[in-house]
């Protein structure tokens, strides 16, 4: 892949990764979203699903790139894919706060319309006790929130300047947390579905595959470097 094409590919990837939220907006405009039996539930699942899927895509970049040296350019897409995972995770979190937690968004908006600028904060004060119980008591909320915090840290440290400032090694150490974010996201999924429901299984298998490949690579690398030493010493 000629280097010149990469910026164009980036544009295509931007467009592709914006399709879910664009269609959500279209469905909002057309009324199809309101016709959903439970729009809140629908938005929650949609944003959560895409956050996880895009996170898995970002984790797939390195293994796919290793298939052949001609795929090396894929690495240049990894950061933006990761940033989109954070984007959808943030929409997911916002959905929880403003639509799912019990926050009365309708009243907050109504207050703003009538010039009561404090209304959104007042509503937040009302919803906060329930949110606090969720944060302190509900494991699936905690683990999901942890995943979002990791993605937030990776997003803040994603610019080249920060990388240079942190030093490559520290930066890489921090960004390995993305594996933890993936695991936390999948655990979040398992803990939120009912016992016996196996819907998170496909995502879990993909994550296991992507992490498993890395373990295999690491072992192969160690074995190869380990073997090369005695072979050369034996030949001496």
């Amino acid at each position: 892949m000629p280097t010149k094409a990469v910026p164009w590919i980036k544009v295509v990837v931007h467009v592709l990764l914006l399709i879910p939220v664009a269609l959500l907006f279209r469905d909002y405009q057309s009324g199809a979203l309101a016709n959903q039996a439970d729009p809140v539930n629908y938005i929650t699942h949609l944003t959560g699903d895409w956050a996880l899927w895009i996170l898995l895509m970002s984790l797939a970049v390195t293994p796919v790139r290793r298939i052949h040296s001609s795929l090396a350019w894929l690495i240049r897409l990894r950061r933006m894919i990761g940033l989109y995972a954070f984007f959808y995770a943030t929409l997911h979190l916002a959905t929880y706060v403003f639509l799912f937690s019990g926050y009365d968004t309708a009243t907050a908006i109504d207050g703003l319309r009538h010039g009561k600028l404090g209304e959104p904060f007042h509503q937040f004060a009302l919803a906060w006790p329930a949110i606090w119980v969720d944060i302190t008591k509900r494991k699936f909320i905690q683990v999901g929130f942890a995943a979002w915090v990791i993605l937030l840290a990776l997003t803040i440290t994603s610019p080249q300047r920060v990388l240079r400032w942190m030093g490559g090694k520290n930066w890489q150490r921090l960004h390995r947390l993305v594996y933890l974010a993936g695991i936390a996201a999948v655990i979040h999924y398992w803990w939120l579905v009912k016992t016996g429901v196996t819907r998170p299984l496909p995502d879990t298998l993909v994550l296991a595959l992507l992490l498993g490949i890395r373990v295999v690579f690491a072992i192969m690398k160690r074995v190869r470097s380990g073997r090369s030493v005695p072979v050369t010493s034996a030949s001496v």
Binding site: I19, D27, A34
Partner: protein, 323 residues
Amino acid sequence: MLLKFAKQIPSSEITSKDAYESFNATRRRFLGGAVAMGASAAAGALLPEAAFAAPTQTLTKLNVVQTKYTVSDATTPEPKAQSYNNFYEFGEDKSDPAKNAWKMHDRPWTVKIEGLVKQPQTLDIDKLLSYRPLEQRVYRFRCVEAWSMVIPWDGYPLSELIKFVNPLPSAKYVQFLTAKDSKTMVLPFGIQFPYSEALRMDEAMHPLTLLTFGSYGETLANQQGAPIRVIVPWKYGFKGAKSIVTIRFLDKQPHTTWNDMNSEEYGFYSNVNPNRSHPRWSQARERLLNSNSILPKIRTTDMFNGYSEVASLYNGMDLMKNY
């Protein structure tokens, strides 16, 4: 016992024909749009419009007697009640049953009456349907997942059937088994089927407990549990067994499916109780799904889902322990 003979539904709160039509029109526009998009896989991935596009079942109009059972909130639009169902035999997502349940045949259908009864027997669905006049009762339907609907159910008290089949005095529980058919159902592997639910005899005999054949004046759609189900309005929705094939009278409390899966989350009683949190969420409030607004309508959950007349059934019981 004080029955809740609330005031007639104020006409302002019944979904108007216009509102209903515009809802349908939007739905059709949306469907049209989806068709126009043709093979757009992305759109398919986004909205489960298949719920509407699945082969539709023809629902038969029922002759129903209006009753005074009603609630103060507007009725949930019928398409919402028929596209958002927990019926795990037909898939794990709430949009799955509407897509998959059309394969089930609700005729011929029989219900086996067995266990501690004088005369075990098998009853034909049409005989059951015509045994008593069908009443239309607008009940609150509170899902354990903290959302709720307002639905007009059509049926007659379960007590009428129980009196007819004449259980032995030793019968203390009534168990309901749902149809299980691997040819027409998805039957996800994480859950043991057939689905089993049960009520204590006094709960089953309570006048609010409705043997249900229809909703909105029509026969039940398959995804709602056609052709025969139970509605127990003061309990979480999953207590109302769907597509019943067996009614069994027992002297001991039988196993029930969700209680088997996770007893901490789904107690045998599962009375609606805002004070007893589900381990994963609060039950103090609910999202009332009865409008076409994207913003959630938050409602405070009432003890026994507002049906306080059942409280006497649980006198002396600690409902935080017997949840």
